[in-house]
């Protein structure tokens, strides 16, 4: 019969109208400003830089300005300048750090490739999307102060991923420490064997370096050594005294104007 198809369609519409008052399947509207969708853990918007310590973000950036993300970024929206000097990172190792780290969010395509290629777990994806602005040139170009966010924030937005990353960093750090210890022991043995003359200074400093570093991890409660820095054996004594992030914080703060 002509018109039966129309009536059938109207029946469906009527069913949906009625359903929209009680059936959760048909009540789909999220009333945005008051009621927010729960973002999935994997959601990504723009990158941020992970720092170990919230009180001193600039002193404890994981980023060592290796510029890999800058090279791999498909739309080339990252700009990094390496620092000329080195600064102890959260674990106390002397590292180059980014003197300038800019991300142009007006270009970024949220592809996450910078996160994938970063060997130091230093750059991660943020979930903030309410960033509409009227200021084209100033508000959309983020510098390192705006980008740095603490590891605790990372744990808050990507809990599973952050726990996994922390576990991996801890394991890598332990392995590096073992290696350093072994190397130090070997060096000490070598020194002892080679120079029979009583000059045992090398052994105490070398062993003192390792506990100092361990103490640093404990105090931060988050592991930090970048994995690629595996052969640390040569430097631990030098890095040890300045290592504690608590001490370090005010010293390096001068570079990072709030």
């Amino acid at each position: 019969m002509l018109g039966s198809g129309l009536l059938q369609g109207l029946k469906v519409t009527a069913k949906n109208i009625a359903g929209s008052f009680h059936d959760p399947e048909r009540l789909v509207t999220v009333e945005y400003p008051e009621q927010k969708t729960k973002l999935p853990e994997n959601y990504r918007n723009f990158p941020f830089l992970v720092s170990e310590n919230a009180t001193d973000p600039m002193g404890t950036l994981r980023c060592v300005a290796c510029q890999i993300c800058e090279k791999e970024c498909p739309p080339q929206c990252i700009y990094i300048e390496k620092s000329k000097d080195k600064k102890p990172d959260a674990a106390g190792k002397m590292q180059v750090y980014p003197a300038v780290f800019d991300i142009d969010t007006s270009v970024c395509m949220s592809c996450q490739i910078c996160v994938e290629v970063c060997p130091f777990e230093a750059i991660k994806m943020d979930q903030v999307f309410e960033i509409a602005t009227t200021d084209r040139f100033n508000a959309l170009l983020l510098d390192r102060n705006q980008l740095a966010k603490p590891n605790s924030y990372y744990h808050q937005i990507h809990p599973t991923e952050a726990a996994e990353v922390d576990g991996r960093l801890l394991a890598e750090r332990k392995a590096a420490e073992e290696k350093a210890k072994a190397a130090a022991a070997a060096a000490a043995a070598k020194a002892a064997a080679a120079a029979a003359a009583p000059k045992p200074v090398a052994t105490p400093t070398a062993t003192a370096g390792a506990p100092g570093a361990v103490a640093a991890t404990v105090s931060v409660a988050k592991p930090a050594t970048p994995p690629a820095a595996a052969p640390v054996s040569a430097t631990p004594p030098a890095a040890a005294p300045a290592a504690s992030p608590a001490q370090n914080a005010p010293a390096s703060d001068g570079k990072a104007a709030p």
Partner: protein
């Protein structure tokens, strides 16, 4: 909002808020008009690229842009208040976008939605991609993201509404359409290699880049 209502002598914003709490609404015609305007921003039904799909998603049941009075997507620029530039503006399309903007009646507003509309975004190195629609027309709100979530578009729209609501009809913060000057923006022409001119210097002046952080 924060600045005192200079042209209502004797009553500050705080006092007016106090009065409102007692049920006395004191307002000016200007504010009433602005309030009405901000709650009925009709966008142009105009999609360019990927972001247009998110714009459509924002108008559908899940996000429901109708809650902000903006569900009336007008196909004709003559009936629209808001141009949402949703996607990559290519050089081939730029003259048409400017023409649409010129055809919209005042007061009109422009939202650059997504990276491409703001700056050319990931495609900015392309030979046929305009590096931001603000090279030719003034943009009120920029929404970064690639593409921005529908909520981000709603957030941008709320910002625009706020801007409309606090607009002034006189004084230094007058809205754009009440300022003197020609409201017709020049439409670029197709050249043999690029648009001519490649930007409208009256609306677009890039600042100097100064990198301030020094080790």
């Amino acid at each position: 909002m924060s600045e005192p209502a200079t042209d209502a002598p004797g009553l500050s914003d705080a006092e007016r808020d106090e009065l409102r709490r007692h049920g006395i609404l004191l307002t000016k015609i200007e504010e009433l008009v602005n309030l009405g305007r901000s709650k009925s921003v009709w966008p142009l039904q105009f999609g360019l690229a990927c972001c247009a799909i998110e714009m459509i998603a924002a108008s559908m049941a899940r996000f429901d842009i109708a809650r902000f009075g903006s569900e009336v997507f007008r196909p004709s620029p003559r009936q629209a208040d808001l141009l949402i530039v949703s996607g990559t503006v290519t050089k081939k399309m730029a003259p048409q976008v400017v023409r649409l903007w010129n055809q919209m009646p005042e007061p009109k507003y422009c939202i650059a939605m997504g990276a491409c509309a703001i700056s050319g975004g990931p495609f900015k190195q392309g030979y046929n991609v305009l590096k931001g629609i603000d090279r030719f027309i003034p943009v009120d709100v920029y929404i970064p993201g690639c593409p921005p979530r529908p909520e981000a578009l709603l957030h941008g729209l709320i910002q625009l509404q706020e801007q409309i609501r606090t607009a002034k009809s006189s004084g230094p913060k007058t809205t754009r359409h009440l300022r003197p000057g020609d409201c017709n923006y020049p439409v670029p022409e197709f050249g043999d290699r690029d648009l001519e001119p490649p930007a409208n210097p009256a609306v677009w002046q890039p600042p100097q880049i100064v990198r301030s952080e020094k080790a």
